[in-house]
Subunit: 327 residues, 2 copies
């Protein structure tokens, strides 16, 4: 079968099996699903949309599109300290999409569902004359009254990030063949960071009682730090020398130093950026082990309403190109 | 301002105000919203997507698109007996959409939010090179363990519908100028039924302890009755003479009797179709008054695994055109 199946066939063949572990999904056969949070828990709800040609390339594999779509939303749940529970998926499908595409797409969803403990509970599959358009609504649980927010940063907090910064934006350059002079292992690494972000769910749970404010880096390090500062009415200082870089990103930067702007502003990192009091630091070694995530202190929260970036020599850094705003 | 505003401006100007009544939406300024169901209640979750040129016409007014989008999902909540609570909205926006468009669109959402007691809590606004594409994820509350389902129909149940049938499909013909020989008041009525379905939320709540099975008619009367029969493993008989028709639909049918196929199979009615034991019938007069909705008995549930349709003379009716399946 290479032609596009009907909506009913799509649901029965590819999507209903993804709902099997949630009885309240009714095998996607009713008008809606019914979800019951555990006692004392609230729902954390987030929506992300991806459009072919805007958020992913037409040549991207269905597996990678599925991974990006689900993981971007999982990263939002991580940034709130939520445990993943269920998701709904709306797909607007152009004529060229085949059964094989849906098979690969749904198979990757199945694998990620297993890895991140989340289940499909509903959605809608419709036709479009335009590009493939996907919208995912993910839900997680958090203890009622708890939940990490952006707006709790306090003056004097340290600023921390998980993992490494800049890989996603550099990976997009690799995908567009605009960053070509790396070793193939380095290119592959950056590509995979761009295509398959790693939602920091374990870390998010651990930060619930430890961090004052948290966000996942999707717009870019400086822009997302700006979101924390704006909602918390504080400022921030960060040091470029402290930014955690992957070997691949460091190699790219050593050849083309201007790429630092992309590291600071490019986005698509899906690492957690959070602020915590100094009492957090002693916990870091054990936390790294438990969450299998590196953690790096990159600056501190200040009382001046701006973000100041310091370069390796301690001078104040101004971005060479546009791409982010000092809010 | 006639140019398209940035995503941040769109959210701040048009969407954040729609979230004002739900503190857990954080004015759309965090990574996710937090929703807490009342004690003992579960969430009912439904997703619908609409694409320009497929589900609505490019010439349709933003107010009508907003109304259809939200009301189609509200109709799903009604069919489960849920009280509306909140919704998330993903929009893929082509270049031609202006601030004026968003103003009219969001204003209609505000009016419908007021009327149906539902609040925006999140979403995503992205660019597209294709047609305007909207996806809405609506959530409602229902007592845990309760909730109307499709699969409870019992042999001997009466089959009921709310309102009138066929107006939506005939309204689409009017919109496409394929049904032109009606009085303008009749055309306007059908158009408005197509563009602004009336979710039967009050009725859904009243049916919670009364109906055995319920669905909202979106695919078409016969197709949706098929969904009830299939999930309940029963059959059905209905009588064409009993179908409730609006004056406008009756006028269209008297001129073009073949349109009966569209009434039976055309869909877009967003009325409730439900089955109930004969003990339900005495309640109907007071129920009609309380819900301000007409209710009509159109047939009964049988033990033969098929849907039989009887015409005015008691003969078995076979559809003239395609457009629906005897499942």
């Amino acid at each position: 079968m290479t032609n596009r199946p009907s909506e009913f066939d799509l649901i029965a063949t590819y999507f209903a099996p993804l709902s099997a572990s949630e009885p309240g999904a009714f095998q996607l056969s009713d008008d809606a699903a019914i979800v019951t949070p555990p006692p004392g828990q609230s729902l954390v709800v987030t929506t992300d949309a991806l459009v072919e040609g805007v958020h992913f390339l037409s040549s991207d594999a269905p597996e990678d599109i599925a991974a990006k779509l689900l993981r971007v939303s999982l990263s939002d749940l991580a940034s709130m300290g939520a445990r993943p529970a269920s998701y709904s998926l709306a797909i607007a499908v152009p004529a060229g999409i085949t059964s094989e595409w849906f098979k690969a797409f749904s198979q990757n969803l199945a694998e990620d569902q297993q890895e991140f403990a989340i289940t499909l509970i509903g959605g809608d599959t419709v036709s479009t004359t335009g590009p493939l358009t996907l919208s995912l609504n993910a839900m997680g649980f958090v203890e009622t009254g708890n939940g990490l927010r952006r707006n709790g940063a306090q003056i004097g907090d340290d600023i921390w990030v998980s993992g490494t910064i800049g890989d996603g934006a550099l990976g997009l350059l690799v995908a567009k063949a605009e960053l070509t002079d790396l070793k193939s292992s380095q290119s592959d690494y950056l590509l995979s960071r761009y295509r398959r972000p790693e939602p920091r769910l374990k870390l998010g749970l651990e930060l619930l009682d430890r961090a004052h404010a948290a966000i996942d880096i999707s717009d870019g390090l400086i822009a997302d730090l700006g979101h924390i500062c704006e909602t918390s009415t504080v400022g921030a200082e960060i040091n470029i020398a402290d930014l955690p870089l992957s070997d691949a990103a460091a190699a790219a930067l050593s050849r083309e130093p201007d790429l630092i702007d992309l590291v600071l502003g490019g986005g698509d990192d899906y690492e957690l950026l959070f602020t915590a009091p100094s009492s957090f630091e002693p916990d870091v070694p054990s936390l790294k082990k438990r969450t299998e995530t590196s953690l790096t202190k990159i600056g501190s929260i200040t009382d001046t309403p701006s973000i100041r970036i310091f370069d390796q020599n301690g001078g104040e850094y101004s971005p060479v190109k546009k791409g982010f705003t000092h809010f």
